[in-house]
């Protein structure tokens, strides 16, 4: 049950069978469809504003997942200003562990946020969090959600996925490619270990500072959550 409590390291390499490598799964996503509906609503608001006054305002979206050759053009070609920050990779490339007296290691959360998430308050209309919260080290999760709350505009949307208790610690990490406005393609990503499973109450507590929270239950072992600031 250690994996339920989480570990300090986000990445623990493990061997995957060859059949699972580069595995691609197509998945209908009601949460993403709702996310896109909200984005389209924002797009029309901005388009109307542009008709009234000459403005260069653009919709700003932050993608916290792995760099995707599909997602970036998907949004960029729609005139959306897309930001990409692969948070899990930040942990893979650099250690934020510091050694305290007595040889105890702890995660330097302040240092992590100095080097990552350097955005202004209310900068984004929407944030795609995917399922990274399940793979992040425990001390980072809550501060990250607080940071996300700050970075979103009032009324801004965030889409996050959470594994259900049926997903074991060896649940593979997937990159979510956007196929269509309601369909995602899951591509096997690098080896990250699932750190914990949030139940519904945990998820509600995590997003208690947000104005609204909507759950979408899928047939697989992932719950989709759409939160609005």
């Amino acid at each position: 049950m250690r994996w339920l409590r989480g570990t300090g390291e986000a990445q623990i390499p493990r061997r995957l069978p060859a059949s699972q490598l580069q595995q691609k799964i197509e998945r209908h996503s009601s949460g993403f469809a709702e996310f896109m509906r909200r984005i389209s609503g924002e797009e029309s608001r901005i388009a109307e504003a542009k008709l009234r006054v000459a403005s260069d305002e653009k919709l700003c979206i932050l993608d916290l997942g792995q760099t995707s050759p599909i997602n970036i053009p998907f949004f960029a070609q729609r005139g959306i200003r897309l930001y990409n920050e692969d948070i899990l990779r930040a942990f893979r490339e650099k250690t934020y562990m510091v050694q305290e007296e007595g040889g105890i290691e702890r995660l330097d959360v302040a240092k992590f946020f100095e080097e990552n998430f350097a955005y202004n308050e209310g900068q984004f209309d929407a944030i795609l969090c995917w399922d990274i919260a399940d793979y992040l080290p425990e001390p980072v999760v809550k501060p990250m959600i607080e940071k996300v709350h700050q970075m979103l505009k009032p009324g801004g949307t965030m889409l996050a996925f959470f594994h259900t208790k049926d997903a074991g610690p060896d649940a593979p990490y997937f990159r979510y490619n956007i196929e269509r406005h309601d369909t995602l393609e899951l591509v096997q990503g690098p080896s990250f270990r699932l750190q914990r499973v949030f139940n519904n109450r945990h998820v509600e507590n995590l997003f208690k500072s947000f104005a609204s929270l909507k759950f979408f239950l899928g047939r697989d072992q992932v719950r989709e959550v759409l939160v609005v600031r």
Partner: protein, 183 residues
């Protein structure tokens, strides 16, 4: 045993050959060969900077450049293409017509035509370009902005296009419109 076919016969150098009219597919082959010209780093007209070179300051030029070394400062190639090799380590803002990145860049990129991020590449900075190609495995941290061309320019381009060019082809030169415009 086998009948020799006329095309198998050796051609004498003095024989008069009919004018060669390439089949339609040949055109596309030639076009394909020519299209990656700008990304071919070993062309004679491409300037090279090797992997042991370190430049601090402003790097500017008016020819295509293959850069495999280190640069700190700024790179300005205006209307020319820049290929950053796998050993390239750039801490600079980049302005070029086209950027093909195999190595690492920390800085903002402004490419008037396109940016191509190869699978080994790392780009940390904001990108402004008309087209972007990202290979699986590339790492990007920053913002991507695809500015729209002013509608007047698009209309002018369509108007000045030769008569045989159909309207859809002319329109395809412009960046894709917004999600709403497509509806």
């Amino acid at each position: 045993m086998w009948k020799s076919r006329p095309e198998d016969k050796p051609i004498s150098p003095n024989a008069v050959q009919p004018a060669f009219t390439p089949p339609p597919t040949t055109h596309s082959t030639v076009a394909l060969k020519e299209s990656p010209k700008s990304s071919d780093p070993f062309r004679a007209d491409v300037a090279h900077i090797g992997k042991s070179v370190l430049i601090k300051g402003e790097l500017s030029g008016s020819e295509d450049l293959y850069l495999d070394g280190e640069v700190e400062g700024s790179i300005d190639l205006c209307e020319h293409s820049l290929v950053i090799g796998p050993n390239g380590r750039i801490r600079a803002s980049i302005a070029a017509r086209e950027l093909v990145l195999h190595g690492r860049v920390e800085g903002n990129v402004h490419a008037t035509e396109r940016v191509e991020l190869k699978k080994s590449s790392t780009l940390m900075g904001d990108v402004s370009t008309q087209r972007i190609v990202i290979e699986d495995g590339a790492f990007f941290k920053g913002a991507i902005d695809i500015p729209k061309e002013p509608k007047n320019e698009v209309r002018k381009a369509a108007a000045s296009a030769p008569a045989h060019v159909s309207t859809p082809a002319a329109v395809s030169l412009a960046p894709q419109g917004s999600f709403l415009e497509q509806k």
